[in-house]
Symmetry: C2
Subunit: 300 residues, 2 copies
């Protein structure tokens, strides 16, 4: 089968063998927003030459602005619950194929506030194939970081922190970004200084201004300010939730591309949390598991 | 004399009488950035027809990117300290006039982190003319909110929260802004719901995502999301610093235009803090006081 992780800003397609191994993989910047509604033709172009009859998709392609809207499945959710929530998309331009889209997940927390994710359920389903049924804590950095707890073959709960997007728009559009220069490679010292600042009193809205004052006063060089801001934000993500406190001395499963997770490895280890890294092919593993749980595998 | 509050994005000029009363006032969007280095000619145009020989300026016009860089004066700072820090700008295009620029203030907090302000020292000097020498807490909302403590004729300490700028860039550039619609008038209920959310666990980076989920789930209407975000951010500004806790049951001096301070009045009263409002002519009062403390008044 073909597994596709189709988020807002990118598309990653994996051609899988019978045992779930990745035979080929392709990626594109034609995310669910950039493809402007032309989901069928974009997908046909991306998988040209791959003749597998079954396609399972996850991500923003299943949102209200996507190909079809696939309703959220409520947590706690088992692999079977998520599989049952998949919807088939009409794909006349792909004759002889079945296209299925996985649902996102919804969680209502103790404060009765809703949280949602879409796409990360594929990674979580993949991880559940690899770990035991004990409780596991998962961190998936990105535009919106997602933290989840899986236990007993079930996604129990999760929460979102908008760390990546806030970092990005502060660099591009705020007064803080104007002081920055150089590439965005990680400066370890500046990153750790940002983390230290986050532990002090005053809160994030106050700490952000220290990016500016550290630049103005020459405490940091223009090329270091981006790493300082990254350390500040990631440390706030970790410190402001109870999950990180509970994870001290334990292991967190970290899922994402190395370029994205490097800073989180540094931050989590600094807080005495062990890290087990998984690459993004975990999404393909999860989509295969969903296809099997939904009995779609007999089709391939 | 003529007092000019010349910030990044606007210029406000006040023509003052001998007793400090505002005779005329003008404002322009030609802020210290928009005027692109043409400080003398822009100023000459703004005060056309006003023949007073003394001009005292404050704000980003005195920054590194301004007309001349006026070094920061360290806190605690008296009116005389600030007056002594003023610098005269060369203004050949304004013959027969003296142009002075007030310094910004710098404060190194208990964590040895620097904070700075530029422009708000004029308001603080104005307020010190109106209140007794007891301790007074001051809140000046804006792109960057400034909180200050004045006592004994001295600006003791202050801190910055980037609330206004973060609100602005999240509305314009983030995924949250895409869900918003309607004007930006304050929806009281949504604002208070945002404030309530800020008191819950999880931190600001997590709470921000609730703007999206409340929009997606229909908990709030598109026209309410901006007010909800405003309540969330302002409540974080207040809750994340110790100053607000200490101010409960007391009065905070709130300085700014009514359109800007309305939300802060609502937020502060919700936290059992009394508010005494002052309008922005306080800056002119402060600049006159600085001119007198520097013995420039004999010139006018």
């Amino acid at each position: 089968m073909i597994a596709v992780d189709w988020g807002s800003s990118s598309l990653r397609a994996f051609r899988l063998g019978a045992a779930g191994e990745v035979l080929e993989q392709r990626s594109s910047a034609l995310g669910a927003i950039a493809c402007e509604g032309r989901f069928e033709s974009v997908l046909a172009g991306q998988i040209a030459g791959w003749n597998d009859p079954l396609l399972v998709l996850a991500g923003m392609v299943g949102s209200r602005q996507g190909w079809i809207e696939v309703p959220y499945v409520d947590c706690p959710a088992t692999l079977r619950d998520i599989a049952t929530g998949m919807r088939r998309a009409d794909a006349a331009a792909l004759p002889g194929r079945q296209v299925w889209i996985a649902p996102g997940l919804r969680y209502r927390n103790d404060n009765h506030a809703f949280d949602v994710l879409r796409g990360e359920e594929a990674q979580l389903c993949g991880l559940m194939q690899r770990v035991d049924t004990q409780a596991h804590l998962v961190c998936m950095p990105g535009t919106h970081s997602k933290w989840a707890r899986i236990e007993g073959g079930c996604v129990r709960e999760f929460f979102t922190a908008m760390t990546g997007e806030v970092f990005d728009i502060l660099r591009k559009h705020s007064l803080l970004g104007r002081l920055m220069s150089g590439d965005s490679s990680l400066d370890r010292d500046a990153f750790l200084q940002g983390m230290d600042r986050a532990r002090q009193s005053g809160g994030l809205l106050h700490h952000l201004f220290s990016v500016r004052t550290n630049g103005l006063m020459g405490v940091l060089q223009p090329g270091q300010l981006s790493s300082y801001l990254s350390g500040l934000l990631i440390a706030h993500e970790l410190l402001d939730s109870d999950w990180c406190t509970q994870a001290r001395g334990h292991t967190v499963h970290l899922i994402g591309a190395p370029a994205l997770t490097a800073a989180y490895v540094l931050a989590l280890r600094r807080f005495d949390i062990d890290v087990q890294q998984h690459d993004e092919t975990l999404a393909a593993t999860g989509l295969l598991a969903l296809a099997r749980a939904a009995d779609l595998h007999s089709f391939s």
